[in-house]
């Protein structure tokens, strides 16, 4: 069976139109924060999945990363700006994913590389000038016509939480608020500088920032603290993106109900990505916020992991039917193309999405 029975026709203006809610594109564009490399390598080795008429086009692509996104029908390639804040406070365990990477690692939530003022002073804060953007230039030279790069960074709250560990940040907010403030300042000003640079690059069509601010029932820190420490920096980052006419996509997991108005009205995001059915199904998010912000992704990760392909297809169709009319919607997973999702389910989601395509 040919899984990709279509001719790739990337057109970043299609995605831009959706992100800026400028009407309904010719078909629903695809959006992901990123795909894990285990998925990328697994997909691109299946040359037989590509429609014979498209093989020459796909094989002409000289980058494995671009090839993955191109052959699946994306209008862009996501690329992280590897800034930024070095740290070694991570923990790991055997990866239980089907496409295992051996060990899976996570942030150590208890201990940071910065736990106090002395650590803060000793930390090797990177200068914005030290950030290496050469990967963008390399990738840009290999992009097929119509494709752009979406430049990405991790976020303001995320980076501070990673440097301190969540529990240390919780303590600092009450026991050393000046240090907390200084942390956000150092992280924020670096990220603003990086986004100013990304905004000036022609190869970049939009920028995205991953800044997980919520968990299942609430925000990671109070809305009061977010308004004091995080949103002002996020606003400056969005302003930087807009100065280069780049739409800004915020990826943030968790329950953000209490801060969505802040993100839309104050921070000024163009699109919001990451949805969980148990918190706020993407269809409900579109109804609630779709007139003010674009909605991206939303096929629940648990569904993509555990449901049957038939269920995924029916659910994808329902999401497209409810979210696509009028524009302002991009199809994708609820979080990312993680190595633990069921690959067949992911491809089924894309296939159902392409049935909406006129290409």
């Amino acid at each position: 069976m040919s899984m990709f029975a279509f001719k790739p026709d990337p057109d970043f203006s299609r995605l831009r139109k959706a992100l800026l809610r400028q009407g309904e594109p010719d078909h629903v564009p695809l959006y992901e924060l990123f795909a894990d490399l285990e998925i990328v390598y697994e997909v691109i080795k299946h040359d037989e999945w590509v429609h014979p008429a498209s093989k020459a086009l796909v094989n002409a692509v000289k980058s494995r990363l671009i090839k993955f996104y191109y052959m699946l029908g994306y209008d862009y390639v996501p690329l992280f700006a590897l800034a930024t804040f070095p740290r070694d406070n991570r923990v790991s365990v055997s990866d239980t994913a089907a496409l295992s990477r051996g060990q899976r690692s996570w942030q150590d939530e208890h201990h940071g590389v910065i736990n106090n003022r002395e650590d803060f002073e000793k930390y090797p804060w990177p200068s914005p000038e030290s950030v290496d953007y050469s990967a963008f230039e390399t990738l840009a030279g290999k992009l097929p016509d119509g494709m752009k790069i979406i430049g990405m960074t991790s976020g303001v709250l995320e980076n501070v939480m990673w440097l301190t560990g969540y529990e240390t940040l919780a303590r600092l907010l009450y026991e050393d608020p000046q240090l907390a403030s200084d942390m956000f300042h150092r992280v924020g000003e670096t990220l603003v500088s990086v986004h100013q640079t990304l905004a000036r690059m022609d190869c970049i069509g939009a920028v995205a920032m991953g800044d997980d601010m919520g968990f299942k029932t609430s925000t990671m820190i109070s809305p009061r603290h977010l308004r004091e420490y995080v949103f002002p920096w996020q606003k400056r980052i969005v302003t930087a993106a807009h100065s280069g006419d780049k739409p800004f996509i915020l990826h943030s997991c968790g329950n953000l109900k209490t801060i969505m108005n802040d993100l839309i009205d104050f921070v000024g995001i163009d699109a919001k990505h990451s949805y969980e059915d148990q918190i706020l199904p993407v269809t409900e998010a579109k109804r609630l916020y779709g007139s003010r912000v674009a909605v991206a992704g939303g096929l629940d990760m648990d569904l993509l992991c555990r449901a049957s392909p038939g269920e995924v297809r029916r659910h994808t169709r329902r999401v497209i039917d409810e979210c696509a009319p009028g524009g302002g919607y991009c199809l994708g997973t609820g979080n990312s193309v993680a190595n633990y999702i069921n690959l067949e389910n992911y491809l089924t989601m894309l296939d159902e999405g392409r049935r909406n395509s006129s290409v």
């Binding site: 923990v91 239980t96 939530e109 969540y166 009450y174 968990f215 299942k216 109070s222 990760m301 633990y340």
Partner: protein, 211 residues
Amino acid sequence: MNGIVRQVYESILNFDRGVIGKKVQEALDAGIDPQAILSDGMIAAMGEVGRRFEEGEFFIPEMLIAATTMETGLAVLQPHLTQQGVKSAGRILIGTVKGDLHDVGKNLVAMMLRGSGFEVIDLGVDIAPERFVEEALSKKPQVIAMSALLTTTMPSMNTTIQALKEAGLRSKVKVIIGGAPLSDSYAKEIGADGYAPDANRAVKVARSLLA
């Protein structure tokens, strides 16, 4: 409420880790019943923390610091409770399941349970089903609480419940679950006795199961 016990209560709500130990000691020196310090000072305060969390006045950082403050005070009080033979509200074995290292939520549940008068045995993270069974056999808890953050690790909860059945323990222990990908329907699907979406409700579920 006695004045010093009130100060113990308030030091938890004010996140005053540096003061609570002294206040507990003052209360003990004043001859106040350790059980009263625990129930009127600490359990009452943690109940208020839970209420404020549910009402959206407190968030995880506030809950964490309040619970840490409570644990600082409890460390001073615990020897006196033990000496007096004060019974806990129940013994709970808690752990994050195999393949999963996330434990902020699990730790918070453990602290809230301790602050509500339960004896909590925290096994830590990456706990295999056989370890839950082994510890349940030796520690004889009334409740086993399992946590998972990932869709890929939550099936270990089902495996653990099956292992408890095979060991003949299932009828002797209640099982509650929590974590980001979980739901009440998943709890029912795998035969758990309860599900809680957050630490405060985990306390309520544990209480109702042992009532």
